[in-house]
Structures are given as C-alpha cells and as structure tokens.
Subunit: 300 residues, 2 copies
C-alpha cells in the first residue's frame, strides 16, 4: 500500500525506468518539467515537436537535452499523432501533453488506427496527499468530464478504482460527493450517488465499498460523519471521491492545494496507457509527482 | 472595513444588542448555541417551540434559560410561523432556524401575510476567514439554491454584495467561479460568468468589479492569476465568490474549514431580516460567529 508521495517515489525508483513520449514539447515549461524528471532519473523521454524551437528554448534557458531523443514534427497535431504512435507501438510507455490543446491530443489518443482507445471514458484522477490523513485520496473527475451521466460516472469510477488498486488499496472506499446526504430528486448528485451505491451492492465495482451521496465532511472527516449519524464504512474514510461536476473537483483540489498544504498529482486514465496532463499553474513539484504517478501506472 | 471575525465581534459589541427569535428551539444543540450567545451578551433571544421539551432539555443539561423568553408552540410549523411573526412585527430583529425543516421555515418566511418576503431570492452567504488572506471572503450560494439560473445568480449576487458592503467593502471584487477561465458553451458556469461580467459593465451591480469566469486559483491566489496571465482587477483578489452550483460552494467551504483552518459563518439573506441557519456539524464557534454575523446584518 502506497500511502504518500514519498513512498511512491521510492517505489518507482526500484522499478524499471519507464519511457515518456511528449506531445508538442516546444514549450519552456514543458521542457523544464521533462528535463527535471529525466535528470532525476525518474523517466526516459522522447520529445516530439518542432525540433528547432525545442533546441532554441533549451539553449536560451540552459536546459540539457543530451539525455533525450527529439523527433521533429511540423505542427502540434502532427506532434500529438507521432507521440501517441510511439506509445501505441510500445516505443514509449506513457504520453505527456505538451503545448498541444487537450482536444487535439485526445483526438490523437482516440484515433482508431494509431490511437490508444479502450472502451473506457478518458478521465482525470487527482491523487492527493492531504495533511492529517493517513492515506492518499483519489479524486475524479475534476479535469476532463464536465457533467458526467450516471453511466459515465460508473465508467470513471472503474478507472479511479484501477488507480487506487494499483496503489495497493484493498476494498477501496468510495464516496459519490454531494452537498447533502439525503437523496433529493432536484439534486442529480444525490440521485446518482444512491444509484452508484446500489450498483456496488450488485458487485458492479468488485470489492469496492461505495457509500450513498455524502458531503465533503461526511466523506473525509470521521468525527463529522459520526456527528451526522452516517453509518457507512466509507463515511469519514473515503479513498476515492467521485465528484458530480468538473467544477466541484476543481475547487476541491485547488482549495486543498492553495490553503491546505495538500500535495497533488494528476493523471489521465481510460486510454491503453497513462497520460500526463499538467496545468500551467502546477508547481514543478506537482508536475514531477504527476510524471511519477503516470510512470508507476505504466508498469504492467 | 471589517477584515476578520475578531473585528466583527468587537464591532457588534459596541452596537445595540439585537433580539433573536428561534424557530423550534426544542433541541439540545440549538439551545446550547443560543444560550452560549445570550450568556456572552451577543444577543437577546426568544425561544419559540414546545415549552415542556425546551425546559426538560435545559434542566437535563444544565442550560440556564432565565435570560430568555419562551413562547409555546404545538409543533414545528407553528413554531416557525410564530418566530417569523415576532420578526415581521419588529419584536425580534432576526430569525434562527431551530429543529424545524428548512423547507417549513422558508414557507413561513415567504408567507404573504406574516412573512418576511422581499422581491429577492432567499440565499446563503458563507463568510470565511482564510488564513493567509488579509480580508474576509463572502461565498454564495453553497447552502440554499441548487443550480441557479443566470437571473437567479444576479439576484444572489445582489444579496452577497449587500453583505460585503455592510462589512465595509468598497468596490467589491466578484468572481463567478468556474473550472477554467475560457468561455465554453458546454460549461454553463463560464457562460454565465461572462454574462455577469457584462452585466456589471452596464452598472447592474453598482461599483462592484465582476470578472469573467475564473477558477479558484485565479480568484484567490494572486501569483496563480498572474502566472495564468489573467488581467482583471478581481483576479487573485476576490471579495465575493459566486459559485455555479450548491455542490461547488459546499465542497469549497468544507475543504477550507476542515483542512485549511478557515473560520466560517453562515447567513441566510434575501428576506427582510437576516436568518441564522447553522448546520448540525458546525462547531459551537461557527454557530456563535453565524449569530454574530446575523446580528450585525440586523443593524439598520
């Protein structure tokens, strides 16, 4: 069981080094993040993008590219396709979004010929180390799917469960997040939360324990859950938080990062191989952790 | 300008003491909160509810009721109506929800004969003191309106502006919260955020500065706003956060309270007089602060 990012980094260091393909690497922040990870020995990397620009940026900012291969691409779309192809042909183990738009990257990922398509929805899982909690929290989806349907939520949950299980969580405790615990037909989050709970009882999610709809305190604060009289094994002890809308997940992890000293990493799953998708406002540490998470997930 | 709860409490202590009418006070936690506020000299109070039960609970738990008037009521609905009537006739200055359902309380508040109805939507404003920020943040609506329309958001914003202005905020900076800054027709939060920005430019919200849609970091973290290249006076310096859905506000303030050492108080506005509506999971301190906020808002 991996309970912190420190434990994850130690674990990753003992495993065979994975190879990263960067889609559209001609960007300073992307090059900094990748060269940082490569120089620390976390991963190997192939930079796909406009070679001349990559070399110019590296030279101007003193970034050492000698340990990385560069594959030239005319534009971002071509870079995305070439990077995806490196992964689908097994020359790389995971993909990283560079300066290409998410939409264009996903188009390449979902391409029927060269892509990494599976039957699952592509979704974002945030891995969070929240001070005061003795475990990592997996939160989805605060980054890709705007307002998933019940069916999509079930699909997203399967992906999040795969991540949690890879981290060693047995019988993952899942909370479908809502504003209140009572089912209210006017609040889809509560209706879907109840439905997911019932689906779990039929074995749909394996050994996962899925509560009904709970608010944030009912999910993560044992005393609050107790005080509210919630009797559910996941109440107060959630491993996975499934949010109803992208805005809910987004505000949750940003509140915790900026005002709760929480360490976070993001990973995009649901394709054949993990995808690193960092945001411009992520710190270098957050980008490093995200590459580490993807690298760990890329181990078969 | 009131920049913290300490400043608020000092301010309230210098003003004429306000009178609280409690709707359905026959509940231990309600009696504890009210007697705490009364014993500290924060407010006077009239307890409306099942007299025998109120007296029994008080005796069992050593709660001193001698400074409070009790008005007997047969049931919660009658208690709500009587308490509302005390406020609408000027015998009390503000209302507090006891053990009565929110729906039943609001029915009494909105009653055309005895009620406190105005043209405005009833909404919840959370006042937050977030460590690291030099001002109070007013967040709405994480407690009453589930998924407000644009028109309802504008109405809620007017109420939040009234609260912020009462606290002395000049030219309140408002952020309509979203997951991203770009307007995306698939994300109503961004579309409405842009519309609110444009309404503000026509003077709809007085001197308030309303940004377009911003994510949490763009709203409250100056460095993140700068890094993202957002050029807006509210970016990083929001006084008011207008959330798109109840779940977003709920998770935001609970994340900050439970893992960010944030102090919070809640107030329900939009009726003729302020309403205290605390949650069972609020700490005694949070309840005390909520009564203080309502008490301050009840000063003409």
């Amino acid at each position: 069981l991996i309970k912190s990012f420190d434990e994850l980094l130690v674990k990753v260091a003992t495993l065979p080094k994975r190879h990263l393909a960067v889609a559209a690497a001609h960007d300073l922040e992307v090059l900094e993040a990748v060269s940082h990870a490569v120089s620390y020995g976390l991963v190997n990397a192939t930079l796909v993008g406009k070679r001349a620009e990559i070399e110019r940026i590296a030279q101007e900012h003193g970034i050492d590219l000698s340990a990385m291969e560069i594959i030239d691409a005319e534009d971002n779309i071509q870079a995305a396709r070439k990077a995806v192809e490196l992964v689908s042909t097994g020359q790389a183990h995971m993909l990283m979004k560079g300066i290409v738009d998410t939409a264009n990257l996903l188009r390449a990922v979902l391409d029927k010929e060269i892509g990494l398509r599976t039957g699952n929805l592509i979704c974002h899982v945030a891995v969070m180390e929240i001070p005061g909690l003795d475990r990592l929290i997996f939160m989805t989806d605060g980054g890709m799917n705007i307002a998933p349907t019940l069916e999509q939520k079930a699909d997203i949950l399967q992906s999040a469960l795969a991540v949690a299980r890879k981290f060693g969580v047995v019988q993952p405790k899942v909370v479908p997040l809502a504003a209140f615990e009572q089912v209210n037909p006017k609040m889809q989050a509560t209706v879907d939360g109840q439905a997911l709970h019932e689906m779990a009882l039929t074995g749909e999610f394996g050994d996962a324990l899925v509560s009904g709809p709970l608010a944030f305190d009912g999910a993560l604060v044992p005393e609050a859950a107790k005080h509210k009289g919630i009797k559910d094994p996941a109440a107060g002890y959630a491993d996975i938080i499934l949010v109803p809308f992208i805005e809910v997940g987004n505000v949750m992890y940003k509140s915790l990062v900026y005002f709760g000293n929480t360490k976070v990493a993001g990973i995009v799953v649901g394709a054949k191989k993990p995808i690193v998708l960092t945001s411009r406002s992520d710190t270098p540490e957050a980008k490093f952790r995200s590459i580490a998470v993807a690298s760990y997930m890329a181990i078969e």
